[in-house]
Symmetry: C2
Subunit: 450 residues, 2 copies
Amino acid sequence: MTTEQDTTADLACLQELLQGDDVQPAIDLLEGMHPADQADVFEALDEDDQPKMLALLSGEGIAHLLGHLEDEQRSSVVEEMPRATLARVLDATDYDVAVDILRAIPPAEAVMTLSQMSTAAEVTPLLGHEDESAGGLMTPGYVTLHRDMTTAEAIAYLRASKPLAEEAYYLYVLDATNRLEGVVSLRELVVADAEARIEDVMQAETIAVTTETDQEEVANLMQRYRLRSLPVVDEGGVLSGVITGDDIMAVIQEEATEDMYYMAGLPGDDSLHASLLLSARRRIPWLLLNLAAMALAGGIVALFEGTIADAAALAVFMPVIAGQGGNAGIQTVTIVVRGIALGEMEKGDAWRVLRKEIVLGVIRGVLFGVLVGAVAFAWQGEWAWGAVVGGAMLLNMIVAGLLGTFIPITLRAVKLDPAIASGVLLTSFTDVLGFLFLLGFGALAISQLT
Amino acid sequence: MTTEQDTTADLACLQELLQGDDVQPAIDLLEGMHPADQADVFEALDEDDQPKMLALLSGEGIAHLLGHLEDEQRSSVVEEMPRATLARVLDATDYDVAVDILRAIPPAEAVMTLSQMSTAAEVTPLLGHEDESAGGLMTPGYVTLHRDMTTAEAIAYLRASKPLAEEAYYLYVLDATNRLEGVVSLRELVVADAEARIEDVMQAETIAVTTETDQEEVANLMQRYRLRSLPVVDEGGVLSGVITGDDIMAVIQEEATEDMYYMAGLPGDDSLHASLLLSARRRIPWLLLNLAAMALAGGIVALFEGTIADAAALAVFMPVIAGQGGNAGIQTVTIVVRGIALGEMEKGDAWRVLRKEIVLGVIRGVLFGVLVGAVAFAWQGEWAWGAVVGGAMLLNMIVAGLLGTFIPITLRAVKLDPAIASGVLLTSFTDVLGFLFLLGFGALAISQLT
């Protein structure tokens, strides 16, 4: 029995062996490791040692390794590989990994590689689907039965055809034109009477998706109905492939990461292990955009430079009004973005959610408006200060609830990911409007403030 | 074949039937729906109609419904239920749902309910485990074999014992003292020679976790090694339960939601469908905390009230310096928090990540420092303006990278969730320090600025 690997010791040991050119012990060490652990070790090796490690692996070994490498590393391994070797390696990878790799290399090379692959017939149809759709997730490896078979015949068929582990838990029942008629689990087959017909043990009401269904919807569907695998059909109802639960775990993680990243203004391929260059190239354009938004907020302040020169204490309340609005709004944005991603926002919910967030905005606005208004009054000894600061807080809190709901819902309505930029858009608005309320009220009441 | 349900039509139909007291058609409608869809409809019903819907469901029907309701709704259904009914309903729920419900009611009532349950023997040991640990996730329902059985004997045993679908894909091989010796999949059993012994077809190197393992680690492990189920053992290696892939999908979603919420200052039980009262009670304490942080930032500005009165244009750059620092830091915090959650941050990685983020901070700092410094110079026509604004930007960008890494790593080191408050802590620091740099430099150079 083993538990999760800490690969630190394996890494040190492998580095030692590679530097000493101890080939056989290094091969033995690698063969005892899970490909996921091999990938960790590979990513931590020096650039000089990485080719040495690859040389120790068989074609199949490299195929398994590729399935666990991060995109950046995977691309660099594939780039270095002769195209004939690549075809042999891709034949041994999972179909979805082969598809990802063929998509990432220049089209001419992909065609050439594909022409040399023995699994070209299975992989080629998958290339036509969007990466993040059900078609891009499904595997064409599944076992099919006919409704007139008996369970004993079906088991004998399985014993003869020896399907792969990944494919064998659910068996799909097709009619003469390959349209999906039902599903039977291996357990039902084993447990049923030997003479029972498949049509009697199968489940005819099967949940299925089409090849175009978005992966987020696939994930929500499998989780909602607690499915372990999900058949994918084309527009005519013909079975095209199957999505398994373990692929969906990766999708759920990916989609959650993507949403968190989008909200923070990060593209999907940055990560803890991304190179400095990649991280810089990905983050800086976004910060430039953010700078433009902040310049707008600065511009509002510039309009009131004279007001601030007369009543400098207004500047003290700027971060309070803007920061509180930003944080209240981020709470709302997060709830709405996550709710949409989890498929909890249905038709008609938008108005209900908007109403709730506006009421919450008013509650928060009155509470914090009275609080900071009282502080401003106590500090400056003028009722006008309390009114200006408290009023600005009240309005900015209502704006926060309103825009926190409105921004992600609008992004979704125009078919964008609701998470994209919604955080930065929100805080830009709460900054700009917060300053406008505070300094605008201040300018109107300037004779009372000074 | 069916696809995802839009429950709007079902809801309207059920409301109609409930108001007209059309009992039988309502029962037929409900029986045709998946419990996940029933839960959606239930949550959308008026408070008057909810008890009517419950009255139409059998004990088993309510058990399935409870498995799909949100916590808030589930509690209110359970509260209204007589304790004798509850015991009967809990006998029909999944073990993990029963455990959740028994934990949520007063201990004396839980003991009484448990004493009336026929599944008390299976449920009681689960109550001792943390909700978010492997022990809290596992089901005690699994099928065990002995290594000396033949595959034909094993299949005959399965056919006789008819295990539930959830339990049947992996079969666990135990020794005489119930210690886990290996795993065999149903597929391997079916495909193998009928006379082969279990010990010859089983996989002896099995990945397992202990009951105390945190659910996030369980999720990362299952995803890393692409496992469909994972055995849980006690300290002596005795098999205690099994975690299945579909439970883990829910954990992955939950953990991702929790991290997003924590970063935005939201507790885990707020959601799109939470009541106004719950949302207000959850969000306002956090905003009070945030107000204190913003008051600190305001306090820094107050120290420099005189400087601002003399050079009011400094206030124009306040949101630019603070906002840009906050956003750059949020990028870093997000990458680090997500990396830790996905188990990508190993020992020794902290310094490497910190170094990278500091270098990135310097790159961004020089870039944006020169940019906003040039704008400040061009606007005010004084080199000192460029130096004050550019210098503040440079320093705040470095602070953003440094603290963006340091805050979540420190939270983890003191055994807190790295996501908790890391967003608000970060922006509080970048606000406070950004103002301190900008206004401090401004005060030092005040004779050149005016």
